[in-house]
């Protein structure tokens, strides 16, 4: 067997999971390669503004400042001393034969790996709302990135809608920064939120902080709403129409709308790496299969929100565990995993509470009017998608071939979860898992033809 020096472990993603995975590998004497799409390591939740911005970490990360700063400093120290190889602003677009195709500003090249740790994170899970294709409708995560990384709001008068911890957190962050918020609309009914309490009590401080933030929103916050429609003119949104829990129609004037129902895992690379998937009833989405510490298929390890949506703290723990499992399998000294496995179990209990309290409104998808745009990339409507069921038998890959939902530039990242609900509903499947899972296809990001034409460089 080759010595640690010649082993190449590649970590994809430099958020909390990727950074802790890299740290664990470095501590064992390996020099991992870290490939990340960001300019600076930190991921989305601990994203750093570009050089030259001056807000202190306390302003950017609030109660999570110490964690954010620790992650940034840990990573920067490893990169500065050459203990890892950092490839920022680089996307892995394909995986084949133990090699990754990596796209950066200079073009495309192949990087070989002996072991692969995928820490690809998550993105907003979005339910289409009629009118959401207009300019000025964003994911909640997008509004947080604009604030954190650019110091800006994406409109003058914002409505935030959806459900999950980010809805409240982002509203408070925007208010603090001086943005105007017209309403915060939560589709989770209050009684449902209370049902999540046993799970949420696994992290009492976290839950309490959420309640305090909710109080700061006072009259802006409404639970148990139904979203009806985004009214727009040629510039973008002018109002969001919604129904309160008593069914009364409400209209809130705004010029931007943020939408998000907690998160969905980014799983395209796990798919290309050959991982198996299972439908997860808690998270109402397909997630890759792995053992308790992140072993997926031989040589491939998964960590963070791309595997299980436990949030940033869970991602740090999962990153350490995946790297420890990798070291163990390589026959190298690995850190003890018992403590982190206990932590992960507690964080999983909390995450299930979150999923229970802030559910994905599956029934809203089935009820969307036929003219609602489902695929934002190509303007495919719910009616067109429903028509494919007559020809395709209610399976999402057939629906994609026939109706192009999932074939646009985002490859279904923002429509496939709602699209599957619509397909399953039209086909009368009873459960959405029966509609199947959209297969991943390389390249997982659009690649300019010029990058494919140049001579492919293979490292190692």
């Amino acid at each position: 067997m080759s010595g640690p020096d010649e082993l190449r472990v590649v970590v994809v993603g430099a958020g909390p999971a990727g950074i802790r995975a890299a740290e664990t590998l470095v501590a064992a004497g390996l020099k991992p390669v870290v490939i990340d799409e960001g300019e600076r390591a930190g991921g989305q939740i601990y994203r750093r503004p570009p050089q030259g911005f001056t807000r202190p970490p306390e302003t950017l990360y609030g109660s999570e400042t110490a964690k954010a700063v620790a992650l940034h400093e840990t990573f920067d120290a490893m990169a500065a001393t050459g203990r890892l190889a950092h490839h920022p602003r680089s996307s892995v677009v394909a995986i084949a034969d133990g090699r990754l195709q990596v796209l950066d500003g200079a073009g495309s090249r192949w990087i070989a790996y002996d072991r692969l740790i995928l820490a690809t994170g998550a993105m907003d899970r979005v339910m289409p709302v009629p009118g959401w294709q207009n300019a000025g409708v964003y994911g909640l995560g997008a509004m947080q990135i604009a604030l954190k990384a650019q110091g800006a709001a994406l409109g003058r008068r914002l409505v935030l809608a959806g459900s999950g911890p980010l809805l409240t957190l982002l509203a408070v962050q925007l208010l603090k920064a001086g943005a105007e918020i017209a309403a915060v609309l939560d589709t989770a009914p209050m009684r449902r939120q209370l049902r999540g309490f046993p799970g949420l009590s696994a992290r009492p401080l976290f839950a309490l902080r959420g309640l305090m933030m909710r109080r700061r929103l006072a009259g802006l916050y409404h639970a148990g709403v139904q979203l009806e429609r985004i009214e727009a003119d040629e510039r973008g949104p002018v109002a969001l129409l919604w129904r309160d829990p008593r069914g009364r129609e409400q209209r809130t004037a705004c010029d931007a709308v943020g939408l998000g129902w907690h998160l969905r895992a980014e799983t395209r690379l796990a798919d290309l790496a050959g991982c198996d998937f299972a439908y997860d009833e808690t998270w109402r989405q397909w997630l890759p299969k792995a053992d308790a510490v992140g072993r997926a298929v031989p040589g491939v390890y998964l960590a963070g929100d791309g595997l299980r949506i436990l949030g940033a703290d869970g991602a740090e723990v999962a990153g350490r565990l995946a790297a420890a499992a990798c070291l163990q399998d390589l026959g190298l000294p690995a850190p003890d995993m018992a403590g982190d496995r206990r932590r992960l179990a507690r964080l999983s209990r909390f995450a299930r509470g979150v999923a229970e309290a802030f559910p994905w409104p599956a029934e809203a998808a089935a009820g969307l009017p036929d003219e609602t745009v489902i695929c934002r990339c190509e303007g495919v409507t719910a009616g067109e998608l429903r028509k494919t069921v007559d020809f395709g038998g209610g399976e999402v890959n057939r629906a994609k071939s026939l109706g192009r939902v999932g074939m646009g530039r985002c490859q279904g990242r923002y429509c496939e979860i709602a699209a599957a609900e619509i397909v399953a509903g039209s086909a009368g499947h009873g459960c959405v898992a029966a509609a199947g899972r959209l297969r991943g296809q390389a390249p997982v990001r659009p690649v300019p033809v010029a990058a494919l034409l140049q001579d492919a460089v293979v490292e190692g």
């Binding site: 799409e37 570009p50 030259g52 964003y138 604030l147 800006a152 994406l154 510039r235 973008g236």
Partner: protein, 97 residues
């Protein structure tokens, strides 16, 4: 009028860029998306519908924010830093076949 509202961090050095032939000012550290949306409501027209597009995820996942450059190439506005003198177009370049 722009869509984006600068709430803080406005003491950065100015940068110039050109959108549809008109010169505008932005700030060093802006992404192309921030710069364009600080002076315009959208980045481009949708090629599949009547509406305009102004980005959606801001993290490189949705590919909604691409914009033309005058030389005919396109770039992802949310993850591309603005560079002094960049020349951008909200519509297809005139001589596009």
């Amino acid at each position: 009028m722009g869509r984006l509202v600068r709430l803080t961090e406005t003491d950065r050095a100015p940068l110039r860029f050109v959108l549809d032939g008109a010169e505008h000012r932005a700030l060093a550290g802006d992404t192309v998306l921030s710069a364009v949306l600080s002076v315009a409501p959208a980045l481009r027209r949708s090629e599949f519908g009547p509406e305009a597009r102004a980005g959606f995820c801001l993290m490189g996942a949705c590919q909604d924010c691409w914009i033309w450059q005058e030389d005919g190439s396109r770039l992802r506005a949310c993850s591309t830093p603005l560079v002094e003198g960049m020349r951008l177009l909200s519509d297809i370049p005139g001589d596009w076949p």
